[in-house]
C-alpha cells in the first residue's frame, strides 16, 4: 500500500512540476504575470544539461540557479523599473530565452544524454511535500509572504503600509525562480536525463495554468501537480491495461486539471483563497487611488 503511493509522490516529473508551479505561485502572488516562465524553464533545462555534462552535478545545480535567477531579474527589471506591460514582456522574452537556451545547449552539448542521478524515492517525495509546505508557510505565515501577497492584492495600499513594492516583487521573483531552477534540475537530471533543442518548452505554460487552477495556493497546487504527473506518466499503462483510446489518455491530465478548477471555483474554497487581484497591473507609485 505504501509503495505505490510513494511511487506516485516521488514521480520526478510530478516533483519538477510541483516546483515549477510553486515558483510561479510565489511570483504571481506578488502581482506579476509570469509568462516568461516558459522561456526560462526551457533555458534552465538546457543550461543544467550542458553544465552537468561538462562540469559536474553540483556545479551544474549552482550554474543553473545563478543563470536562471539572472534571467528572471531581467524580466523583473522590465516589470518593476521600466513599467513594461506584463504579458507583452513575458511573451517577447520567452522567444529570446528559447533561442538563448537552444544556442547554449547546441554549442556545449557533448552527447544527447547524461547519467541520471539515483535518488531515493522517500527523499524525492519529501522534496515535493516539504517545498509545498514551506512555500505555504512563507506566503501565509511570514512577514515577507504577507508583503508579497499584499503586493499582489493591492500594490498601492501595500506601498502606503510601508512595503517597498518593487523590492518585494524582486524578492518574490528570486525566490520563485530558485524553485523553478531546482525544478528544471530535477527534470533534467532525474526524469529526462537527455536533451534536444527546446526540451521543456510548454511546461512553463502548464505550470501557469495549474497555478491558476489552484487559485495560487501552494497546498492546493501540490495535489494538482501530483495528480497531473501521475496521469501523465502512467497514461501509457492505462492505455495498455484498459485499452483507453490514446486521445482520451493524452487529454486526461488536462481534463482532471479542469475538474479541479471547477471544484475550486464552484465551492466556498474560492472565497477563502482570494486570487491576486492586481495581477498584471502596471504599477506606478505616484498615481492616485483616493
Amino acid at each position: 500500500m505504501v509503495e505505490p503511493i510513494l511511487t506516485i509522490l516521488a514521480d520526478p516529473l510530478a516533483i519538477a512540476l510541483t516546483l515549477w508551479i510553486l515558483g510561479d505561485i510565489v511570483v504571481e502572488r506578488s502581482g506579476v504575470i509570469n509568462l516568461a516562465i516558459d522561456g526560462i524553464i526551457t533555458f534552465s533545462i538546457a543550461v543544467t544539461f550542458v553544465a552537468v555534462q561538462n562540469i559536474g552535478y553540483v556545479q551544474g545545480l549552482l550554474i543553473s540557479l545563478a543563470s536562471t535567477i539572472a534571467l528572471s531579474l531581467i524580466f523583473a527589471t522590465f516589470i518593476n523599473v521600466l513599467h513594461a506591460p506584463h504579458v507583452l514582456t513575458g511573451l517577447s522574452l520567452n522567444i529570446a530565452f528559447y533561442g538563448v537556451g537552444a544556442l547554449i545547449g547546441l554549442r556545449y552539448m557533448k552527447s544527447r544524454s547524461l547519467v541520471p542521478i539515483g535518488i531515493g524515492k522517500p527523499i524525492l517525495a519529501l522534496i515535493g511535500v516539504a517545498t509545498a509546505v514551506l512555500t505555504w508557510f512563507t506566503l501565509y505565515r511570514s512577514r515577507l509572504g504577507t508583503e508579497i501577497r499584499a503586493c499582489g492584492f493591492n500594490p498601492r495600499a501595500a506601498e502606503a503600509a510601508g512595503v517597498r513594492v518593487w523590492r518585494t516583487r524582486y524578492i518574490a521573483t528570486i525566490i520563485g525562480y530558485t524553485l523553478v531552477s531546482i525544478g528544471s534540475y530535477i527534470y533534467t537530471t532525474i526524469y529526462r536525463s537527455g536533451w534536444s533543442q527546446y526540451t521543456g518548452m510548454g511546461y512553463g505554460f502548464l505550470a501557469i495554468t495549474l497555478a491558476m487552477a489552484s487559485s495560487w495556493h501552494p497546498l492546493i497546487a501540490y495535489p494538482i501537480a501530483i495528480a497531473f504527473g501521475y496521469l501523465y506518466t502512467s497514461s501509457y499503462a492505462l492505455q495498455l491495461l484498459y485499452g483507453v483510446p490514446t486521445d482520451v489518455v493524452n487529454a486526461l491530465p488536462f481534463m482532471v486539471s479542469l475538474a479541479v478548477v471547477v471544484i475550486v471555483y464552484a465551492t466556498p474554497l474560492s472565497k477563502k483563497v482570494a486570487m491576486p487581484k492586481a495581477l498584471g497591473e502596471v504599477y506606478f507609485r505616484e498615481e492616485r487611488a483616493a
Binding site: R143, R149, V163, A289
Partner: protein, 490 residues
Amino acid sequence: MNRTFIRVVDLYKRFGDVVALDGVTLDIFFNEILVVLGENGSGKSTLAKVLYGVYVPDRGKIIVDGSEARFSSPFDAKKKGFVMISQRPQLIDDLSILENIALFIGEPPSGTLAKRIEDFLKRFDIGIDVHKKVFSISYTEKQFIELAKALLINPRLLIVDEAATYLPQDLKTKFFEILRRFVSDNRAVIYITHKIPEALEIGNRFVVLRRGKVARVFNGAANPSELRHAMFGTEEYLKLVSRQLLQRLSKDSKNVLSVDKLVVLDDYGKTAVDGLSIDVRAGEIVSIVGVAGNGEKELGEAIAGLRKASSGSVKIDGFDVTKSPPSERTRKGLVYIPEDPFKEGTAVTLSIIENMRMYARERLSQDVVLDAIKKLGIVPENPAIQVSKLSGGNVQKVSISRLLLTMPKVVVAHNPTRMLDERSRALVLDILQRFSLSGGGVLLITEDVDEAVQISDKVAVMVDGRIAKLFEGGNLESFRSEIEKAMVHG
C-alpha cells in the same frame, strides 16, 4: 515654549497643469494638534502625502529635528516616525485585519500579535475578530483599525487626513480623546479636514490652504467666520441654504416615489430594511436620517434596483418598478446618487465628460457639461481630466452631476455632501432645492441632521430598518435635538 518639530519649507508639487502645492511653508510644533483646513481640492491630501512619502515634491524641503529628511516612499517616512491615516482606508481587502496590521508594523501575522491587537482594541471597547478579512468589516471599523495600527508603532507624527470626519459622533469623540492623549508626549498630530466645527473642536493651531498656498495661519484661537473667509474668500454661500418652503408646489401634488412595506436583506442575508414605507411627492424634499448601519444603504440600493426587494413595492411616478432593472427605473425618471463616489458613483478611470455621458446615456453638448461643472464648482474645470486625478470632494461632485444632465422626476441621494466642503455643500443643497421647486421629488438619505432639517419638508428617522419617527411641518430646526435622540434610541 513652542519647540519646532518639523519645518515644511516651500513645498511645490504639480500634476500635469494642476499645481496642487504652490510653495507651502509651515511649522509643526511638538505637543500640538495642527489643523489643516481648506476647500475641496486645495491641496490638503497632497501635503499629507508628501509628508508621508507617497509623493515626492518637485521642490522644497521637509526638515525634521533640524535636519533635512528626504522620503522616497512611505517606508522612509515611517522610519522617521511619520504615519498617515488617509481619507479612504488604505487597507488590503483580501487580507485579514491581523495580516494588515502585521504588514504595517513589520511582523509576521502571529498569534501573539493577534492577542496584542485584540487587547489594544479592547481599550477602546472595540471587540472584533482580527482574523476577519477586511472586506467584511464596516467603514467605521476600518478607520479604527487604521488608527490602531498607526498607534501600535508609536509614531512621532500622526497625519490624519479626513479619517475621522465621517465617523459617527460617539466614536469621533473617542478618536479625539485618543489624539489629545497622543500629542501630550513630544509628538504631534496634523489633522486635516474641511469641516470648520470639527477643526475648532480638535485644533490647537490652524493653517488654511487655498489653491495650494497657505492662505492664513491662526496661532491660537480662530472663529468660524474668519476661517470661512480664509478658506473660500467669502461667506455669501451661507445664504443659499435657507428654507424656501413657501414657494413649493401645493401639498396635494402626486407621489413621484412610493415605497411600500419594503423588506431588503443585507449582504449577509440579514434583514436590513424591515417593512419600511415612505412617499415623496412632486416638489417635496423628504429626508431619512439615521446612524450608518441601520439599513440606509440597502434602502437606497433597493429603490435604485441594485438590490433585490424581498417583499413590498417601489413605485416611481406611479409605475410599479419593484421588479424592474435599474435602467428601467432611470427611464421612468429616477436618479440615484450612491454613497461611495469612488466605487459606485463614478468610473474613476474615465474622464469627467465620459462619466457624464455615461449618466446621460446620450450625446451631451460641451455647453451642458461645462455648465454642470460650473454649477457644482468642480475643480479643475477641465472635462477631459480623469476622475481618479480629482480630489475626493470633486469626485463626489462628478457623481452628483448626473442630476443636472437629465430631466429626472425623483432624486434619491445617499450622503451626497459627505465629502464636500461648506461651500460645495451649499451649492449641492441649493441644487436639490431648486430641483424640488421645479417640481421634482427628493429623497435625501443622510447622516447629517443639519442638512436634513435645513432643506426638508419632512424628516424621517430610520432605526433598525424602520422609520422610528417622522417629523414634519413648521420649523424642523426646532426638532433637531428630538431627531438626534430618536436616531440613537429609536
